[in-house]
Symmetry: C2
Subunit: 405 residues, 2 copies
């Protein structure tokens, strides 16, 4: 029958189109970025996860800077934030932007790559080369999607420890990171205290607050409300939940800034106009800025990875893991701590840092506390903050002397 | 329904189905709620809007309580907030809940319906009986959708003034409202100073901040990202952007509360479980609560109305309308003001109220300022706050004595 043939031909064309789209998405996917060294772990060396899952095979993408000394005593681990990656001091392969922490890390910088061997790995569950929900599930040959096991901060740290073992790094001179990176620093100091000489958790907390969980949940719902999300199977469908992920990013981005910073940068200024348009166009500069943030984010980040990593932060509660007493997470610790917060950070306010300091005090751990006066909000740790640099410089130099570096 | 189907028997089944869906949406639409008195304005009495549009015919749905005295001197206008309505002291026809301000308004309450004649109207652009984007455009016979002209706070106030004219109310003993309602109160006192004896703007600001515009923009983008929004033509399509509107509401709801209130109410408590599920289910109580807020909101609110009213708040800048000097908005005012804020309100922080008070001081207007100690955040003005009630009682009683009531 002609009609059957026509139907078949249409179906074939459709399939080809969909396959083509699928391939295009795979190829464009940051998950397959080849420009980072990748450490492979076979199915015989699985990652034992908090959920009970054993993930294997898996891989960790990472970057390094500087040289490991003969004593292997000068290693620094940088832990990245929610939407960060391993490109801390190298041009980003997708965005072309400078490394995200070049302000703090580099030759002659507080984390001096002339003196230290610096490692940063993409966290497990992310999408910049380490195994995550966009990776192929070897059991099915399809991307994991929501079949990927839930990830915790502790899982990220365990995977990093496995990477360091492979790299022949027995312990860390310094473990440093902000926001979700700071959570990993705290988890490192708690889980492997003998491997952490000094630790700098910045703009972080020992647990995620109800309000922060709430903001994350709104972002997740925005992604899952997007029909293009397709129950997490969008890579196979050849679609992408760009609108949902964009909305999630826009909302989250507000929480990374501060009202004073937004007022200073944008106020109520109109976008290239003398008068409002009386429409739903981006009349205000802040609207245009946020839309841009949403659009550029979806080009470099995987929606499912966003779901997984926000969930990991929500689950983080270091005290809960230690009978409800945060100090017990650090009992007997010899790690030197420098805890840092920013006055205008309302996502991880100074009170969260103070709680960490009090817990460390309670177990007589050596700790310095720095609250940096800044109106730049949570993202201050990524920005040009001289007070942060000088405090970090002082702490790290002193630790290096104590370590004999 | 059956007779309608019979009448439509000649049409093809698909059209009938689509029509049926459309009708069902119309019937369920709060816009057609018949349980409020409605004041009709003909095409000869249009509303002159800030955008330049002249809206007519249009209608205003309202509710009253108490009795207007012979001197017509005891009228109180209550201005509702973004997602509020005229049901301030009456059971809500859609939700079945008590009136939204029964805590403050009623027999023996600070706004005493035994003494005052209280009016509250649904703002123009909303969806509870007053003309808005869900109403039929008489020129096309279809719902306005985005063809509805942009609404400003001043437009809302002009429409209220036209309603009061019809009701034979020359001036207001008291104009009172919170949040967007407070913006209307300020606009009333500025636009019609001779018609406002006393004014109580609560938890509000004389302009919308960059951060607040940002949060609104995320909500609008969430709605417009929903394919069911259909460029605003969802009523005709028989769809509803419930997911997008739900996400918008979830995000906004966080801003109505406070971190301490969220911590007290929910903390990190899990939802009917001893341990996390390691999934994207609503593990935490706060997640389940937010999802419920989103779901219940979409049952009572129109998505386009949400776009319009958030935009009206964004555009509000009373100083900008008066050469950049807020005090000029109130020059020569004889209105007695009581400005009220709440310590934990971060949407309209006390600084916003202080700016209003300073502007009133600068033009020697009589003003009292009350900052209520509360951890309930922005929504405190809707809640059981004894300090708010007693301050309101004192201010209103004194105003009544001055008015000879």
């Amino acid at each position: 029958m002609d009609s059957t043939l026509t139907q078949n031909a249409e179906r074939d064309a459709e399939t080809v189109q969909r396959e083509g789209a699928r391939r295009a998405v795979y190829e464009a996917s940051p998950a397959s970025d080849p420009r980072s060294p990748v450490m492979l772990f076979s199915a015989d060396e699985p990652l034992a996860m908090d959920s009970g899952a054993r993930l294997g095979p898996f891989q960790i993408a990472y970057q390094t800077a500087g040289t490991l000394n003969a004593q292997r005593s000068n290693a620094v681990l940088i832990c990245h934030a929610l939407t960060g990656d391993q490109h801390f001091a190298h041009r980003h392969p997708v965005t072309g932007k400078p490394g995200w922490w070049e302000t703090l890390v580099g030759p002659g910088k507080p984390v001096d790559t002339n003196r230290y061997f610096v490692v940063c790995s993409n966290v497990i569950g992310s999408c910049m080369g380490s195994t995550g929900p966009a990776s192929l599930n070897p059991e099915t040959g399809r991307p994991y999607g929501l079949d990927f096991p839930l990830v915790t901060i502790r899982d990220m740290v365990r995977a990093q420890a496995m990477l360091l073992d492979r790299l022949g790094i027995p312990d860390l001179f310094l473990c440093i990171g902000g926001s979700m990176g700071g959570m990993q620093v705290l988890q490192w100091a708690s889980l492997f205290p003998e491997r952490v000489f000094s630790a700098m958790p910045i703009a972080t907390g020992a647990r995620h607050s109800a309000q922060n969980i709430a903001f994350h949940e709104v972002g997740r719902q925005a992604i899952m409300a997007d029909p293009a999300w397709a129950d997490g199977r969008y890579l196979e469908e050849g679609t992408r939940p760009a609108k949902g992920l964009g909305v999630a990013r826009m909302g989250a981005h507000i929480t990374y800034l501060s009202e004073p910073a937004l007022h200073r940068k944008f106020g109520r200024r109109l976008q290239n106009r003398a008068a409002p348009t009386f429409s739903f166009n981006a009349d205000f500069q802040i609207e245009s800025y946020l839309r841009h943030q949403g659009l550029s984010f979806v080009e470099r980040f995987d929606a499912n990875a966003y779901l997984y990593l926000t969930r990991a932060m929500d689950y983080f509660d270091l005290a809960e893991d230690h009978g409800g007493v945060l100090g017990h997470a650090f009992r007997g610790s010899k790690t030197r701590f420098c805890v840092m917060s920013f006055t205008s950070d309302w996502l991880f306010p100074t009170a969260d840092s103070r709680a960490i300091v009090h817990a460390l005090n309670a177990v007589a751990a050596p700790v310095a506390f720095v609250e940096v006066e800044s109106d730049k909000g949570h993202d201050a740790f990524l920005l040009d903050e001289p007070a942060m640099f000088s405090a970090a410089q002082g702490f790290i130099d002193a630790a290096a002397r104590a370590r004999g570096l």
